[in-house]
Symmetry: C2
Amino acid sequence: MNLKPSSFLTLGMIRLGARSGYAIKKAAHVSTQFFWPVSLAQVYPELARLERSGLLRRRDDPHGARRRAAYTLTDEGEQALLAWLCAYAPGATPVQFRDEGLLRLFFADALPAQDQLALVQALRARASRAGAHVREQVVPLSSSLEQGGVRYPALVARLAADTYGYIEDWLAKLEADLLER
Amino acid sequence: MNLKPSSFLTLGMIRLGARSGYAIKKAAHVSTQFFWPVSLAQVYPELARLERSGLLRRRDDPHGARRRAAYTLTDEGEQALLAWLCAYAPGATPVQFRDEGLLRLFFADALPAQDQLALVQALRARASRAGAHVREQVVPLSSSLEQGGVRYPALVARLAADTYGYIEDWLAKLEADLLER
DNA sequence: GCTCACATGTAATCCGTTACATGATTCT
DNA sequence: AGAATCATGTAACGGATTACATGTGAGC
């Protein structure tokens, strides 16, 4: 069985207390979405796969007449998650993100000065809004986990918020440079 | 015809002087690779598509007995590129990167303290190496374009290098915090 | 009563990667 | 002579997204 990062996301979210596929998607949407997007159509087949492999146990957990599944980790599932967490070798998994905004900036020399400025402003606005979103929506939610001793989600959220802030400042300086001419 | 970011990467690289598919891949490898990865197997079909759509012109440009193609932008191609560069609406294209390292950090509460520290150290080392790579390989190359008035590739490279530096420092502080206990 | 959130899945499609296949030139 | 680089493609595969399809519960 071939376990991908999305498999471990699934296992990890269940370990953090998400029980249903829907709950996993919801939790991912407000936390890991920025560095590991998932869609519902991915989650359900993945849950089935993980159950077939013996890493998850599925119970029926209907809510009234609405059917619902409740998943829990098996010992094998817990072990697989821990092994993956320890197996990180930088270099094996190079950083790579896809960002259409940066791609445009890369080619911005093709634009007249005015449009260059507009593009940089748009990118700064985007960083600003992304940072605000993380600070206002993600950090408070993940901080509430800290009382339970789960602190890394909040750390990652703060790292993300601070990094967006840094990029915003960087782009603001570039904007000022462009305006000087 | 449906133009994707990779289509504009192709057009943009040709505008910056890359002539063959191989040259586009090579240029992308040392510049846009970090925020928009491409593979050769993507470039060639894309070039064919863009030529069929009239955005590129293809000439034969053999080197000895070795066949080679030389592409240039048509007016339509230039217009399409400029239109895309101006069309950036933040919100329409949300930032999203996939990072297995951050995903692991998010779930790091599952690990014993010692392994948590090792993971943070590995992530810092990765940021450090990525930053060094950009500073040493990408910035010098793109800076050499600045004499020709092409300055955004170097700006993007510096933004990347500085951001990796910021993340490295952030993780170093986290590392110190973890060691204090 | 209506709308939104909860909840689970499948099908079609798109996009990208790895691996394969081939061959010429340049450098050591 | 051999290795690395230049150069162009195709085929198979895998992984993720969008859209489709269906139905219940809770709050206004």
